[in-house]
């Protein structure tokens, strides 16, 4: 009977692993993505329930069921509520928090298992525990800093030589790990262990702190991959195949996704992680206010109503103002007037790749109106008006012509090629990456200051009146 339970559990784990693989595969295609996510979730549920019911350790079933059930309920309720309630704009932060929770889970498991290490247990057992501790801590603290940055609570911060300092911290951590494994007896073992914990957490903070806020998606993806590896350590620790498959799968997929994201910005991962150090000085020089001209709502409305083709370039400002529905309304109104309206979506517009697509899809904007970077750039030369709604860095020509700019090398939307550019921003302040934008002082650019939603509503009223 017992062995049958064990076999059944193995089958559960097998199905779980396959569900993860199939789910991830389906997630990579727009048509099947949602179903893929559901399949992964079902596999996860099966693996968890299987563990609860069938897991046996030395013929004994699990203890502390009350605690486990309580924790599951608490976690599920809080998780569902936050994930359901949070605004679409805050979703990147949320992914970061959930990732950090996974890292924290790995840390806690390592602490429990460390306290259980028996005399004379294999060195490799300890090594796996320490690896889980180290990677989990970095992932946890790094994700928390990334969360703070995305929600604007933490500013970019770097001191000179931080790059070297970080490497020193990492070297000390690795030294302590080796020291502990070699059984050095001078310093009490728990002291070294918690030293590794503290230093790893510190390293995670220092690692993410200097990286520009606009690069957080890449960092989150990287830390996501780290948590995957920490999970795989857990898989080794408990000889558990589903943890191993799930962990490694996310570890490698996350790493590749990180590289793909960097490619979308036409930058290398190294440039993202270390580039921030050099660029800091250039970016923080107090930029003098560039000359710019403003346009009134009614002038803008008239120009738009009589244009042939308008490209809307959405950015984070649109997301913050929750203006996606109003934007869709304007688009419909203009189409009724016979204006051709399309959206130019930069892959990293907003705070995360695909952020704008998600947002506009929420407002029921038709899929085929959303053009990607290359398609959009083909359209700009024949465009009458490019309407930029709260986007900044993704249309900044400095990315093409200023080698000292932190975003140099990133592909941008060539909005300047269109006959007229109308930029809606709240103020003249530089964008998220903290750099001046010369587009705003270009001769064919007019500024339309104000909250995206209010401005769009006024535009709609004006255009209706024409």
């Amino acid at each position: 009977m017992n062995s049958m339970g064990a076999s059944l559990l193995s089958v559960c784990y097998l199905i779980g692993s396959v569900a993860f693989i199939v789910g991830l595969k389906m997630l990579a295609h727009p048509d099947t993505a949602r179903k893929g996510n559901q399949i992964s979730a079902a596999g996860m549920a099966l693996a968890i329930i299987g563990t609860l019911v069938l897991y046996r350790s030395g013929g004994q079933h699990l203890n502390n069921y009350g605690w486990i059930a309580g924790a599951l309920v608490i976690g599920a309720v809080i998780g569902t509520l936050t994930a359901r309630k949070v605004k679409m704009t805050a979703m990147p932060q949320l992914v970061s928090i959930f990732n950090g929770m996974g890292g924290l889970c790995a840390v806690l498991i390592s602490i429990i298992e460390f306290n259980r290490i028996a005399e004379g247990s294999p060195v490799l057992h300890t090594l796996i525990i320490l690896a889980g501790l180290l990677i989990g801590s970095v992932s946890f603290s790094g994700s928390m800093v990334a969360f703070g940055k995305l929600s604007g609570k933490i500013k970019d911060y770097a001191f000179s030589g931080q790059h070297i300092f970080n490497l020193v911290v990492l070297a000390v951590v690795l030294f302590l790990v080796v020291y502990l494994l070699c059984g050095g007896a001078v310093v009490p073992v728990p002291f070294v262990f918690y030293g590794i914990l503290v230093l790893s957490v510190t390293y995670g903070v220092l690692f993410v702190l200097p990286i520009g806020g606009a690069d957080m998606p890449v960092v989150i993806s990287l830390l996501n991959s780290c948590t995957g590896i920490a999970t795989a350590c857990g898989g080794f620790l408990y000889n558990n195949p589903v943890m191993l498959t799930g962990g490694i799968l996310v570890g490698s997929a996350g790493a590749i996704l990180t590289v793909i994201m960097c490619n979308a910005m036409n930058r290398s991962l190294m440039n993202v992680l270390i580039g921030s150090f050099g660029a800091k000085a250039a970016a923080s020089t107090p930029g003098k206010e560039e000359p710019h001209k403003e346009i009134s709502i009614s002038d803008a409305a008239t120009a738009m109503a009589y244009a042939k083709k308008i490209m809307i370039v959405p950015g984070y400002g649109l997301a913050v103002a929750q203006a996606q529905n109003t934007c869709h309304e304007l688009e419909k109104l203009l189409q009724e007037k016979g204006v051709e309206v399309k959206y130019a979506i930069h892959p990293v517009a907003g705070r995360m790749p695909g952020h704008m697509n998600v947002l506009l899809a929420e407002a029921d904007v038709s899929y085929d109106l959303l053009l990607d970077l290359d398609q959009s750039n083909d359209e700009f030369p024949t465009t009458d008006i490019a309407l930029i709604l709260g986007a900044n860095d993704v249309v900044n020509p400095a990315a093409e012509n200023d080698p000292s700019s932190p975003i140099y090398g990133m592909k941008i939307l060539d909005v300047g090629k269109s006959k007229m550019v109308i930029v809606n921003k709240r103020t003249m302040k530089p964008g998220y990456a903290g750099i001046q934008n010369q587009l705003f002082s270009a001769p064919n650019t007019s500024m339309l200051f104000g909250d995206a939603k209010e401005v769009l509503q006024k535009l709609i009223t004006e255009i209706k009146a024409i």
């Binding site: 979730a41 929770m101 999970t231 620790l237 589903v242 695909g354």
Partner: protein, 112 residues
């Protein structure tokens, strides 16, 4: 050296799983449209929440009077569940918006 070889020998299946999974992860992810980067990251994020199984085993094998392990394990299961449940729900919410809309062709049947 011998311990390492023994370890590999004893866990050879694990090593196969690791290596094959690495390639699988790479294979599965490549050629993703940038639209799906965020949901994919979020979905992968939920999958590594499978670490909750480790948390369940850790607390479940702790003696009922080992309060330190129970408290830590209790926290571990909570944060693990947050990772799993929150991750899947938020991914689903993102993807909900990608629901395939049939192109609404306003059929003006010129059948006057």
């Amino acid at each position: 050296m011998n311990t390492l070889l023994d370890f590999i020998q004893q866990n050879i299946e694990m090593f196969y799983v690791v290596i094959l999974s690495i390639f699988l992860g790479i294979e599965v992810i490549s050629k993703v449209p940038s639209v799906l980067h965020t949901p994919l990251m979020s979905g992968a994020n939920a999958i590594h929440g499978v670490i909750i199984i480790g948390a369940i085993i850790a607390i479940g094998t702790a003696a009922p009077d080992n309060y330190l392990a129970i408290v830590l394990g209790f926290l571990a299961v909570i944060v693990g569940t947050l990772n799993v449940v929150g991750g899947f729900v938020v991914t689903d919410r993102m993807l909900e918006m990608f629901k395939t809309r049939k192109p609404v062709t306003i059929k003006k049947d010129t059948d006057e």
